[in-house]
């Protein structure tokens, strides 16, 4: 069946008791067992260990990513943490994309480093740089592509090969493109990670995360951490995310089309220094982006001539675009990564990987693209 059919039906069957076409919200802590000997026969014991509503979302995401299992988490960061705790022990080493969400960088450098795990932040756009980072104790590769916020793309298949040779697992943060546009497991990755807060929900209503695994062995390892550390998703969040998933392809198509039109507009604007969007031919890795994904997503960034000061003026002046963290929602958002999403990445490291001070990040929403462009144009006029 096609993606759009599966995004609506996968994981959800009519409630056998009432016929309810939607999965009920099982807002419950515990499950009454038929008898001591029949413990767990209905599949659920305690809502930290599993919940029917959350399970429905896990099954849907498993299907959409083409995996064999999924564990949902309370946030995207909890999902990243779930993967790291599942596959990294003290003394182990991991290779992480050198451009990634600031929270991922912070988890590695400020939290897991305290437990004796070592990290190398390698340039994922250059497979040889990734291969060069491998050590004897490398156990995990985490690739974020396109990367937040520079949009740098990494070759999923090439890094999966490197990981396989190193005997390590390869997890891809697929938040920016979703399985509708990019399918990491089919390119050899072992796991796909999502902040479901973004496109899966799509309406700025929930925070959540998910890890979809290609094998039961990896799926079980992540589920063990989900239950042991307890950073689970709530049934209400799962239910809202189930609704969001039903329009995922529609939103991705339209938001990406909006992003492309905005990128082209900005590229031609005399006050704009540079624009980065994987769909533009001028984008450094346009060919890779085109090859490994069926769409370019709704994230882009640009720099206003005049750098940081001009960018700030624009972000304060622009209408419709909300100055906010988060991305991927139907509402268009504008973000200044250096002071917001990536404030915890040291200045030197930001400079090294190209997160420049004047970088203005855009998450194109579902508004009429004419209105979005008009708002940016008026704000640029004021710079």
């Amino acid at each position: 069946m096609g993606f759009s059919t599966r995004q609506i039906h996968a994981g959800v069957t009519p409630d056998p008791l009432t016929g309810s076409i939607l999965t009920p919200i099982y807002q419950t802590t515990t499950y009454v067992q038929p008898s001591v000997d029949e413990y767990m026969t209905k599949g659920f014991t305690y809502s930290r260990s599993g919940n029917p509503t959350v399970r429905a979302l896990e099954l849907k995401l498993t299907d959409l990513e083409g995996g064999v299992d999924c564990s949902c988490f309370g946030t995207g960061m909890a999902a990243v943490q779930g993967v790291m705790l599942a596959f990294l022990n003290a003394g182990d080493h991991a290779v992480i994309s050198d451009v990634a969400y600031g929270g991922t960088y912070r988890l590695c450098t400020k939290v897991l480093s305290r437990f004796g795990v070592e990290f190398t932040f390698a340039d994922g756009s250059d497979p040889s740089a990734v291969a060069a980072a491998v050590r004897d104790n490398t156990k995990l590769f985490l690739t974020e592509t396109p990367a937040n916020p520079t949009m740098k793309c990494s070759d999923i298949a090439a890094i999966s090969e490197i990981a396989k040779k190193a005997g390590a697992v390869h997890a891809v943060d697929n938040t920016f493109l979703t399985p509708y546009f990019q399918r990491p497991l089919e390119m050899g990755a072992d796991m796909s990670i999502h902040s479901t807060t973004k496109y899966m929900d799509g309406h700025n209503a929930t925070v959540g995360g998910a890890v979809i695994s290609a094998t039961m062995e990896h799926g079980d390892a992540v589920r063990f951490i989900q239950n042991s550390t307890g950073s689970i998703m709530s049934p209400q969040v799962a239910w809202l995310t189930l609704q969001g998933c039903k329009t995922l392809s529609l939103r991705m198509d339209q938001q990406s089309a909006n992003a492309m039109a905005i990128a082209q507009y900005l590229e031609a604007h005399p006050k704009v220094e540079q624009v980065a969007y994987p769909g533009l031919e001028s984008f450094a890795q346009h060919d890779l982006a085109k090859r490994q994904a069926s769409g370019y997503g709704a994230m882009l960034w640009f720099e206003v001539k005049g750098g940081l000061e001009a960018g700030k003026k624009l972000m304060d002046a622009v209408e419709i675009w909300s100055l906010a963290e988060n991305l991927g929602s139907v509402e268009s958002l504008i973000t200044h990564p250096v002071t917001m999403t990536h404030a915890d990445v040291e200045e030197a490291e930001r400079a090294r990987v190209g997160i420049i001070d004047g970088l203005v990040r855009l998450s194109a929403g579902l508004e009429d693209v004419e209105d979005l462009i008009d708002a940016l144009g008026k704000a640029l006029d004021q710079v």
Partner: protein
């Protein structure tokens, strides 16, 4: 099970059978519009009311259904229908049996919304109301007309707090084959089960004490199952064949719950004032602690009554548990645990001092609700009862200096300390 367990047990368990699919201990929230039918015959029989089952969430919903059964069990009724608000419950409860040319006899001391419905809205559809003093039982008898089809009142009048003599009015109703409907919001079934005294239908704004947390708006109509609709030809909506459902006769098919079924089949289907499953879930949570909360509401009220009665800035205090209240004897009879947690009092210095009091308390919230877990205060003359004229204000027992207090569940010492701040501000106004 409702006939074998006590109140607190019912408030936790009635209406819920543990989810058969997974055993979920809490009631699942069926946030769904529709239900997939196993086959066309089943679908047709559900539509025709030949069998129970869910078709569409405007009419029934499994989560809302648990709440309906739980409230029916607590009230001791045959069936209940939940609605989107208390006002929707009142409207549906009345229009299920009354139509053009019919007449209501109602207490003059009621929630302003109920008065407005009967005085302003229902007359547009040819339903008229005569309002009578709730302390004069004979007045209900005297107001009856040939076309009277309903007698309506509140056990604890709002905001005058006069107690309606349920047995006295019920006797008049029974004699004349007219159902007696009571808005039981202020008492809840924990303080008084009105059906025990001959009331035939109760309605609640479950937004108030039943839910108890100020989190969800909702209403309910409960069928007492104790009215003989077939004893006269005055109630054709119950006793005549109902054409939209293949001519089903509700009275013959459903007997003691025929009235509730009429609301389900007509109001919920054709008008659609449906309670959301999410609200039903929140309200179920609230009902689980109904008796605990009511006991604390009453204990705090008792302390506040003593405090206010002895306060130099208070000109008067009204509550049926005070021996000076004119309904004190009736309160002891119908509300032996206590006559609710609404208190009205006057602040010395009149309207302006009352205003200063309200503006200077902090803990007590100034808003148009009652029965929250938090202490609430309001000035009825300018808010809840502002759309009724001066004469009706007097009839409803509302004075200009009146403050209505809904005593919450806070530590009562903190409520008193908060009131002290308010009274100091009121005193300045009164002395200036």
């Amino acid at each position: 099970m409702s006939h074998f367990y006590h109140f607190d047990t019912l408030s936790l368990h009635a209406g819920q059978t543990v989810d058969s699919e997974f055993g979920a201990r809490a009631t699942p929230i069926y946030q769904t519009t529709s239900y997939v039918f196993p086959d066309t015959d089943t679908a047709a029989s559900i539509f025709n009311l030949e069998r129970g089952g869910h078709a569409y969430s405007r009419i029934t919903n499994p989560t809302v259904g648990v709440l309906e059964q739980r409230i029916a069990a607590l009230e001791g009724g045959s069936a209940a229908v939940c609605t989107a608000s208390g006002m929707a419950a009142t409207f549906c409860a009345i229009t299920a049996i009354l139509g053009q040319g019919d007449h209501i006899v109602a207490s003059s001391q009621m929630y302003g919304g109920n008065i407005s419905l009967m005085k302003n809205t229902l007359p547009r559809f040819g339903i008229t109301t005569t309002f009578v003093d709730p302390t004069d039982v004979e007045g209900f008898h005297a107001a009856l007309q040939d076309n009277t089809r309903l007698v309506y009142g509140e056990l604890i009048g709002n905001p005058g707090l006069d107690i309606l003599d349920l047995e006295g009015v019920a006797a008049i109703c029974a004699e004349n084959h007219i159902p007696f409907m009571v808005d039981a919001t202020f008492n809840t079934p924990y303080l008084c089960r009105c059906f025990d005294y001959g009331v035939n239908i109760t309605i609640h704004s479950v937004t108030k004490w039943m839910g108890g947390h100020g989190a969800a708006i909702g209403g309910v109509v409960i069928d007492g199952g104790n009215f003989d609709w077939g004893a006269s030809d005055k109630y054709p909506t119950i006793t005549d064949d109902y054409a939209p459902f293949s001519g089903i006769n509700l009275w013959e098919e459903f007997g003691p719950s025929a009235y509730a079924m009429r609301i389900r089949a007509e109001a919920m289907r054709d008008i659609g004032p449906t309670m959301s499953p999410m609200n039903a879930f929140l309200l179920l949570q609230g009902i689980e602690t109904l008796s605990l909360r009511m006991d604390k509401h009453l204990a705090n009220t008792k302390v506040m009554l003593e405090y206010l009665s002895g306060h130099e800035q208070v000109s008067w205090v009204s509550h049926p548990d005070l021996s000076a209240h004119r309904s004190h004897a009736l309160a002891k009879k119908y509300l032996p645990k206590g006559a609710g947690s609404i208190v009205s009092f006057g602040v010395k210095g009149g309207r302006d001092a009352g205003k200063a009091f309200i503006e200077n308390v902090e803990l007590a919230s100034h808003l148009a609700n009652v029965g929250d877990s938090k202490t609430l205060i309001i000035h009825p003359a300018t808010t809840t009862h502002s759309r009724i004229d001066a004469d009706a204000l007097v009839a409803a027992g509302i004075s200009d200096d009146m403050i209505r207090l809904s005593v919450g569940l806070e530590d009562v010492a903190d409520i008193q300390a908060d009131f002290e701040t308010g009274f100091r501000a009121a005193k300045k106004i009164a002395n200036s």
